[in-house]
Structures are given as structure tokens and as C-alpha cells.
Amino acid sequence: MAKVLMKGNEAIAEAAIRAGCEAYFGYPITPQTEVLEYMSARMPALGRAFVQAESELGAVNMLYGAACTGARAMTTTSSPGFSLMQEGLSYIACSEVPAVVVNIMRGGPGLGNIQPAQGDYFQMTKGGGHGDYSPIVLAPSTVQETVDLVILAFDLADKYRQPVYVIADGMIGQMMEPVELPELKPPQRPERPWALTGAKGRPRNIITSLQLDPPTLEKVNLRLQETYKRIRENEQRHEEYMTDDADLLVVAYGTAARIVKTAIAKARRDGLKAGLFRPITVNPYPYDTLRKAAEKAKRLLVVELSAGQMLEDVRLAVMDKRPIHFFGKMGGVVPMPEDVVDAMKKALAEA
């Protein structure tokens, strides 16, 4: 199929449709609203479900309801809306139903602003809601990768019966790049014996996250932990860029990573050997591969659009084996590649 130029937000919507998303629920919030608008036209035209919810609470619980029936379903939001969804996401994780949530992050905390930021990393990768759950979090850095990862998100959600998040930001949501999309096919629903579709010819199904008996709830938790272990073993993804000879290993994801790539090209023209380690799954975090990559370098620099959240995972991976520097921007301020080059030079100068 020929490449078409699409805005990140529109690409998210169309990718979900191509992945067989049967139901979309959302609430307007910048900078993700184009997903809602796009879906409002496309989903009803395809005979699929679309509801503009009364709030993000409504949206995430509609998602929960649709997911309980075994349908591929998605909601999208931006930071403050994602905060509102935490309750529902905890229920979805405990109930073991598949669901896809895209968060187009903006500047925070509070109402913040609508510019690109990465300040929701802790909330997204460490659970965010109450209880012991650990969602899969995929971090695209181009519009094409956003398409690929939204489709993967549906597959992983089905495979593990857990919520899967796509973590992106206003820059990826708003920018246009060429994308290639898979063909449009009618949604295929695999056998889902647990789904609530009416107890016809089978014992009735109950989906609940309530277990009043502690040993029973412990069993549920142990099963969840078993799922997360399988996810850690099978689903870690990352990219390395010019790391073979790198003295300085820069670690960044999403938008920050693509700015870093340009910075690396500039820095290498100045004779500074830098490379990029880019986690694609920020949960499960590729600790072991990062540790190995770090061993080849002299120092590390973590670049984020936050006060240093992924930084903690990098420290967990590398421990005190290598010095770790940090360069971050907050509040929707996006650094230019030149700023990152300066941070690289500073990190090496401190050696």
C-alpha cells in the first residue's frame, strides 16, 4: 500500500480501525482531540461503536464495558484525562480484560499546558491506579511507529488480557509524516470464552475485580504477576542507534529520542562519539539490554521531557557501573538538538 501523509493523531485512529477496533470512547482534550474527531466520522460509517463520553471517567468505564464483551476497544486522552482514568484502568487490569489506551502527554502538573511533555512516565509505567498491576507501555517516536505500536497494542492486550498503553506526546500527535497502513478488514473476534455475551449454551460468566476472601484475591494477584513475568520475558523491545563505538550512551524515548538522533548526528560532526538507546517498551523496561549497552560506553546521558522519571529505570538497569547524567525540560518546553549537543558535551566534560 502506498504511503500517505497523516497527522499522528489521525494515524492512531486509523491504525486502531485497521487493527479491528470495534468500539471507541473518548472525551475532547488537547492535544489528542483529532483522534476523537476522526473516530466520530469513521467508526459509525463502518458500523462500529463510537461514543463521545461525558468525561474520561465515563470513557474508561465504557471501554471497560465493551472490553468485558470481548470486543477490541480503545480510548485516547491527554494527561489530565489519563489521571481521571486511573480507577477504571485498575479495574480493567484486575478483571483481566484487554483494552488499549493512548495518552498524548502534555505539560503538567495540573492543567499545565498543551505542549509536548513526558511527565506521565511514572503514572503510566508504574501502574498509576491502586493495587499491584503493571500495564504494558509502548513508546513510539515516529508516526509510522505509532501506527505499528497501536496495532501491536491490540494484539498484546488480547494475548495477555491486560490494558496496554501507548505513550506519546503532543508533538507526535500533531505532526505529519508518511505512513503505511495495513488493509482494512472487518473485525475478527477470536474465541473469548470469558466474555460477557449472554450465557447461551455455556455456564454464565462473571467479570469482577472484587474478591472479599484474602487468599482468593492473593491468587488473582499471583496470576497477574505470572502474566507480568511472561510479558517481561517476551515483550521487551528497544532500538540502538550508533551505539557500537559510542563513548556516550544517550537514553531517551519517544519525541525526546528523535531529537537526540539529530543531536547525535551533529555531535559526531564535532568528533563526539555518541549513540542512542531507545526503549520501545518502557514497561516492561529493557533493563538487561540497557545494562549490556551501557557496558560498551563510558558514560550515560538520559534525556527526557520531564524532571527525570525514566532516569530511575536507567539507574536500576545500570546501577553504579557507569556515571549517569541527566538533561530534561519540563512544562512543554521542547529542547532543540543543539541544546542536547550542549548537554552531551557537558556530560563528557565532567568526566
Binding site: 508533538m171 500533531q174 505532526m175 509524516e177 543531536a263 532543540m336 538538538p337
Partner: protein, 181 residues
């Protein structure tokens, strides 16, 4: 090739649209392309700019500090981007609104009374495309035919009537640079 283009003006002057035409043209010609708008709560009347990158290499950062080309549609954009254009780059100025001369001598400055030319063609809102034509006559980073194809393929059905006038605006901008009037 690798070009970083910023197009900037008042909201409503069509800076974002001109950038999209350029991006589509690059896509048709097999380049790596990216387009990113400034976005803000103001829907009309604020400043609006976009950054377009056309390259033979995969594109890293979609935003740049020092573009190789800037097209400025209004005085505020002139003040902001004239100092930022990379040395040896191009600054295309809408002199219908930007009265002051450029101060840089290490860049190519292309001066076009785009509003007036667009007005003569029947619609002042085509100043953006006039300036795009002026750029292509100065440095053919994409072919004008690709831009015309983008107009044909990407302007939505209910606005088909603006395609031909926009093609004329593109040609008028090119002609102005080639003939100096």
C-alpha cells in the same frame, strides 16, 4: 538533500497549508518528510507556524532552531525568524506586510509583495502560495508540478474551486522572482 523550512504568519494566512503542500510534494518525490505545526489554544488570529523537513535521510528532530529556509508572512514572523535562518539560507519575505528591509547579509533574501499579487489574482488569501512559488523559483527544493499535484489531490472536494486559482498563485510567485515583477 536536506532542507528545513519554517513558514510563519498570522493565524489564517495559510502558513500551515502552504507547509502541507510542500510536504506532500516532497512525499511524491520520494523524500523523507515531516510537517509539524505550532499549536495553541488560539484558533484564529494568533501567530501560526509550521516546520517542514525534506531529506534524503530519516528525519530525527522535526523541529529546528536554525532553518535553512524561512517564509515570513507578517512582521512578527520576520522579527522572529530572520535572525534564526542558517547562514547561507533563504528568507522569503511578504513585503506587502513586512515593510522593513532585512538586516542579514549572509543569507539570500527574496522580497515579494505577496498580498498585492494575490489580490490581483482575485484572493488575498493566496499570498501563502505566491510566496511558496517565489521560494521554488529561488531554489527548486521540490518541483512546482508536485505542488500542483498536491493541490489536486489534497484539497477537499468541497473546495475544488480554489485549485486553479492556487496554481496561478504558485506560478505568479515564480514569475515574480524570475522576472523581478
Amino acid at each position: 538533500m536536506h532542507e528545513e523550512v519554517i513558514i510563519s504568519g498570522f493565524g489564517g494566512q495559510g502558513a500551515l497549508f502552504a507547509g502541507q503542500l510542500l510536504t506532500y510534494a516532497g512525499l511524491y518525490e520520494g523524500r523523507q518528510v515531516s510537517w509539524i505545526p505550532s499549536y495553541g489554544p488560539e484558533m484564529r488570529g494568533g501567530t501560526a507556524h509550521c516546520t517542514v523537513i525534506l531529506s534524503d535521510e530519516p528525519i530525527g528532530s522535526p523541529i529546528v532552531r536554525n532553518p535553512t529556509i524561512a517564509i515570513v508572512l507578517n512582521p512578527a514572523s520576520m522579527d522572529k525568524y530572520e535572525p534564526l535562518v542558517a547562514r547561507g539560507g533563504i528568507l522569503v519575505v511578504n513585503t506587502s506586510l513586512v515593510r522593513r528591509p532585512a538586516q542579514r547579509s549572509d543569507i539570500t533574501v527574496v522580497r515579494v509583495p505577496a498580498n498585492d499579487l494575490a489580490y490581483e489574482l482575485g484572493n488575498v488569501r493566496m499570498a501563502n502560495v505566491v510566496l511558496l512559488g517565489a521560494l521554488l523559483a529561488t531554489k527548486p527544493i521540490v518541483s512546482p508540478d508536485s505542488v500542483k499535484r498536491a493541490m489536486e489531490e489534497e484539497i477537499p472536494a468541497h473546495r475544488k474551486h480554489i485549485i486553479e486559482p492556487n496554481k496561478r498563485a504558485l506560478e505568479r510567485g515564480m514569475q515574480y522572482v524570475a522576472e523581478g515583477r
